[in-house]
Amino acid sequence: MKLVISASPHISSGATTRKIMGDVLIALCPALIAAIVIFGWRALLVTAVCAAACVFFEWGFEKLCHKPSTVGDLSAVVTGVILAYNLPVSIPLWQAVFGCLVAIVAVKQLFGGIGKNFANPALVGRIVLFLSFSKTMTAWVFPDAVSSATPLAQLAAGQKPELLTLLLGNHGGCIGETCALALLLGGVYLLIRGVITWQTPVCFVGTVFVLSLVLGQDALRQVLSGGLFLGAFFMATDYVTAPQTYWGRALFGIGAGLLTCLIRFYGSYAEGVSFAILFMNILTPYLSRWTQSKPLGGAKA
């Protein structure tokens, strides 16, 4: 009889990267359904193409580099879906695929694959597309209207979009960002499942709310507009590119909220969530260090 010898512990909680990513995908479902209802079937097509492209690039890159495939952990699917949610429904598919290439190969794999990238792949994918194809990336085609300004543009122009419209998301914007209600539902699911902790989304959204209030903006509409919920629940909470400590996550949320407001109110772009999160991604190693936990009973070094 040959016995296995290994160091303790001999059991595990059963948590796996795949299960976590699976939970994120489940949490993204309500927003997908909302997107199909609001923007039509092309929303599903763009999402599916992005997911497939991300998986393909991940598989292909690892194949080329003779690395074990990590497609099974579903992280590439999550990147694809989130990137799609950040694109307008009318985006040419080849541009969407180019965004996936940037996200998976340039941002994730070239830095060493899952766990090693310093910035959120989907986010950088979106920013690269936004800067490269600003025309198609801001073509807010909306089925019912000929063209529709996004709520943020309306707010900037002094108009007041309906609150109910903001909640349900039947207005111009990216595929997955418009329906605040669906995103909130997904976010709550992630919180309940313990996939994310409350510090990031609460501090992020809270900071935007308070700052808007202080700076004389329509706080409620600022919070419900643009990509804030998508960013706060699904992008700022990305494990790899956000701090691991509670306090670090709180600071990350506050910083991202602050930058979002600065860009929205004083910058030349209508929306600032992506750049805010990207900036905080870069600060993450420092946030982790600054908020290092104090070991129980630890003497001063």
């Binding site: 009889m1 010898i5 512990p9 595990s12 090693k116 494990y239 691991q244 070094a301």
Partner: protein, 446 residues
């Protein structure tokens, strides 16, 4: 401000909690190691061919931090042997062929118990070590220079590891001895508070000891949340008396003496009958075990014999553990004996023997959130891999109690606590070298 001590919800699997311990037949031979404790090994005092009886001294303590070893069966000493223990070190053993009569040593008699010194001598002579698993000689723990220091005696009945119920059975089946032990500690250490600390997944034990301590002065029951590692000494001290044991200090420095409940019951037994530690109640369980149960066996009984007598296997065992699945030690073969500090032996089938292969760290921070001592395992691994000793010192890896919460909760199955163990050893060597360097410098200046 009251801190929340983190931990993990481990599966309960206390299948044997309701099963009173069964006494197994005495095996043909026992092989008793001379090193079943932390500290110097005991020195054999018997020779092959000599006949021994139950409770007779066969190995005398090898120093202050050591413990004597007694014959667990009556019979004839076959040989003074050697065995590779589960820790990988060669241990001296005394092999005894049992005659099955289990005659006690006629010279055994209850010890004189007039003074604190008498009590300490009794604990030393009983051969007692920390039976919760640590195996630290109990007398060393109880040797208190200044009795004023002791604020609370904490009786550890947390038993937070999955599967294990031998302490539960001690609390339920040996309540007289345990209460007597509590009174001894209260009397000799002059403690004002004796606390029975029991996890709330053992409501029967909590109920029983609430009843038993109702009319006792200075005794109380503390029902603890079932959250692993509740039974870890530092965690237990904080959750019962609210004191944090500082780095480099002992529980005694914050006024706490923590004793495992089975340790205490056995001390009481020795004080009453003079019978030292020669047998153990252990939980036999695991997915490969046909009929999980609690059994009473002589120390030194081979695991193969225990499993066979306890009903055998229902599937081929692929991993066998001393202790629970969180901190237990995997044994190389079933020739290993039951030790003083063995509280369970678990046999796992192939499906449970090997954990999934590690994948890349996704920096989710679960290891940090789970660590009861608020260490940062993911950062420790990074520092260890980079060989950054200053950073390891700063991250206080030396405080790690190796409970395994970090590895248990890791979705990437990273070897976190395993790396902590390596890092601790490496840091200790580095610190020693550093202080030697410093000494050499001082010497040069002189």
């Amino acid at each position: 401000m009251k801190l929340h001590i983190h931990g993990v919800h481990v599966p309960n699997r206390k299948n044997t909690a309701e099963l009173a311990a069964l006494r197994l037949p005495i095996p043909e031979t026992v092989e008793i190691p001379m090193s079943m404790h932390i500290g110097a090994p005991a020195i054999p005092v018997v020779k092959p061919g000599e006949s021994v009886r139950v409770g007779q001294l066969i190995g005398k303590a090898g120093g202050f931090v050591s413990a004597p070893v007694y014959a667990s069966v009556s019979g004839t000493v076959k040989k003074i042997g050697q065995q590779v223990g589960s820790g990988g070190r060669l241990m001296q053993t005394v092999v005894i062929a049992a005659d099955g009569k289990q005659e006690p040593d006629p010279e055994l008699k209850p010890p004189k118990l007039d003074t604190m010194q008498d009590f300490l001598d009794a604990v030393r002579e009983s051969g007692m070590v920390g039976l919760g698993g640590a195996g630290f000689p109990t007398v060393v723990k109880l040797t208190v220079k200044n009795l004023e220091q002791v604020k609370a005696g904490i009786i550890n009945g947390a038993e937070c590891e999955p599967y294990i119920t031998s302490d539960t059975r001690t609390m339920l089946d040996r309540s007289d001895e345990l209460m007597e032990g509590a009174r001894l500690v209260q009397h000799f250490l002059q403690v004002r508070r004796v606390i029975f600390a029991i996890e709330d997944n053992k409501p029967r034990c909590i109920q029983l000891y609430r009843k038993l301590t109702k009319d006792e002065d200075g005794m109380e029951v503390c029902a603890l949340k079932s959250l692993y590692p509740q039974g870890g000494e530092k965690v237990l001290i904080y959750n019962t008396i609210g004191e944090i044991v500082p780095e480099g200090k002992l529980p005694l420095d914050v006024g706490a003496v923590v004793l495992n409940c089975t340790t205490l019951a056995n001390i009481a037994r020795y004080c009453k009958t003079g019978m030292p530690l020669v047998e153990k109640c252990i939980t036999v369980d695991g997915s490969a075990v046909a009929k999980p149960k609690n059994v009473i066996v002589p120390i030194g009984m081979k695991l193969a014999d225990v499993f066979e007598q306890a009903g055998g296997f229902c599937a081929e065992p692929k991993k066998v553990l001393y202790g629970g699945p969180m901190m237990g030690i995997a044994v190389p073969d079933l020739e290993q004996p039951v030790l003083k500090n063995t509280n369970a032996i678990l046999a796992m089938t192939e499906a449970d023997a090997v954990l999934p292969e590690p994948s890349a760290c996704i920096r989710c921070g679960r290891c940090i959130r789970h660590c009861p001592l608020r260490l940062m395992p993911s950062h420790i691994v990074a520092a260890y891999e980079a060989g950054n000793m200053e950073r390891l010192a700063e991250l206080k890896v030396n405080l790690c109690m190796e409970c395994g919460c970090c590895s248990f909760g890791c979705p990437a199955h990273r070897p976190l606590v395993q790396t902590n163990k390596l890092a601790k050893a490496k840091l200790a060597v580095w610190r020693k070298a550093q202080s030697e360097k410093l000494d050499a410098k001082k010497e040069a200046v002189k």
